[in-house]
Symmetry: C2
């Protein structure tokens, strides 16, 4: 049961949209899926219709518990888990308090592997675990890199998005050498793809040269339904199943399952 981090420190490239729709799509096809929201903005939590005010515990509480006592992994994660947000889909939510996790982690022994410890306690219950990352390479993201077997990297076909790649790969390399020898980029997914736009094609060519066969053949088009769905608290996958965006993410689900 693979654990995939959905990472890219460049902001607004479609990490949350990909994590939410891929998780929903995998659950739709009968897989047991856990989505961990590891971004203090908590967009994945809201995008799945979870009311932040009413959650009992969040990823922050898991980190805080583990800082106290490593043996709390299972009970702590259990408290934060929201089961069956959609059929087959569980979620560990995030709220603003997750921004307070970095100071908590900084002072702790083993600060980079808390998330790996927490997930070890529940991995066996799932076919897939996806983790939505914040737009930075700080301790929250390093924990994701340490906990993941593979990485899914959404790439917007824009010049600035290309620029951040070397920074991301440098960090991945260090984490692989020091903490997680199995870590690798599994898939790069081109998002907000507009085939009429010359820049899109130029960036897509550069990404393909760099990542070769890791680049998904699926292109996620720019599609307004994908940005409308979060306001309704439901993935476009289920809310707008006939949209171009949902169709593209369904294709991604098939590609991922056929891996």
């Amino acid at each position: 049961m693979p654990v995939w981090g959905v990472v890219n420190q460049k902001g607004g490239v479609g990490k949350t949209t990909t994590a939410v729709n891929l998780a929903a799509g995998l659950a739709n096809s009968g897989q047991r899926v856990l989505l961990v929201d590891s971004d203090p903005q908590g967009n994945a939590t809201t995008g799945l219709g979870i009311q932040k005010r009413s959650v009992a515990a969040t990823l922050f509480d898991v980190y805080a518990d583990l800082a106290d006592d490593p043996d709390l992994a299972e009970t702590s994660l259990d408290k934060a888990l929201i089961r069956e947000v959609a059929p087959g889909l569980d979620v560990v939510p995030a709220t603003l308090d997750l921004a307070g996790a970095e100071p908590v982690l900084l002072g702790a022994v083993g600060k980079e592997t808390f998330l790996r410890e927490a997930l070890a306690a529940v991995r066996h219950q799932y076919d897939w675990i996806l983790i939505d990352a914040p737009p930075s390479l700080g301790l929250l993201t390093v924990n994701i890199l340490a906990a993941s077997d593979g990485l899914l990297v959404p790439m917007q076909c824009e010049f600035y998005a290309l620029e951040g790649l070397s920074q991301l790969l440098k960090t991945v390399d260090i984490v692989r050498k020091r903490i997680n020898p199995d870590l690798r980029v599994e898939k790069v997914i081109l998002t907000m793809y507009d085939s009429r736009n010359r820049l899109t094609q130029q960036v897509a060519d550069e990404v393909s040269e760099y990542f070769q066969d890791k680049v998904s053949t699926v292109r996620i088009p720019r599609n307004v339904r994908l940005s409308e769905a979060p306001g309704h608290g439901e993935p476009a996958m289920s809310l707008f199943p006939d949209s171009k965006g949902a169709a593209a993410y369904r294709e991604l689900v098939q590609e991922v399952l056929a891996r």
Copy 2:
């Protein structure tokens, strides 16, 4: 001479695009402008055509010097400054090493006010100082909030972008109470505005209700020229002056100057 931070922890909302084009536009109208790139991705640095490999010193070096010795502010900033990147526009660049600033700052006394100290040494030389922020609310951004008189908040008209507002305003409030009593949101600028899209209008209405007269009357349209310009190392303002994007940023310049 106002110091404005261009901030929003939501990723990809147009912070860099706004900072670069506003800085270029103010310089075009005869103002002496300093743009500080405070994002380890260094997109503003690249967007202005600066070769990262060839810079002598960056904002990271300024922070590292100040951690050693507070009296180094003037000489350190002087070393990092790149003068006349465009007529009337100086830049303090950023490279990946800026990601190493947070650990350096964390251990230092007065960790939140290093940038304010550094800029105090040169403020008198400029009519405007703009600071491009990373997509997070960590120490790099807190330093910007402590150093700024006002904030320019680019807002993408999308649901997720709205969600982060309360977190941003909470942090601004704390910084105002503890470190910088004059700090205030000067202007909110709606970016990637697509008037045909219903969601755009809904989000715009919510933002206007919240921020009232602080919302700029200028709307920055989604315009491909704005995303093509960075690849050429020049702001769209000067590279594609007849584009809709450049025209909108020229209007913003006029609004800002008329303040």
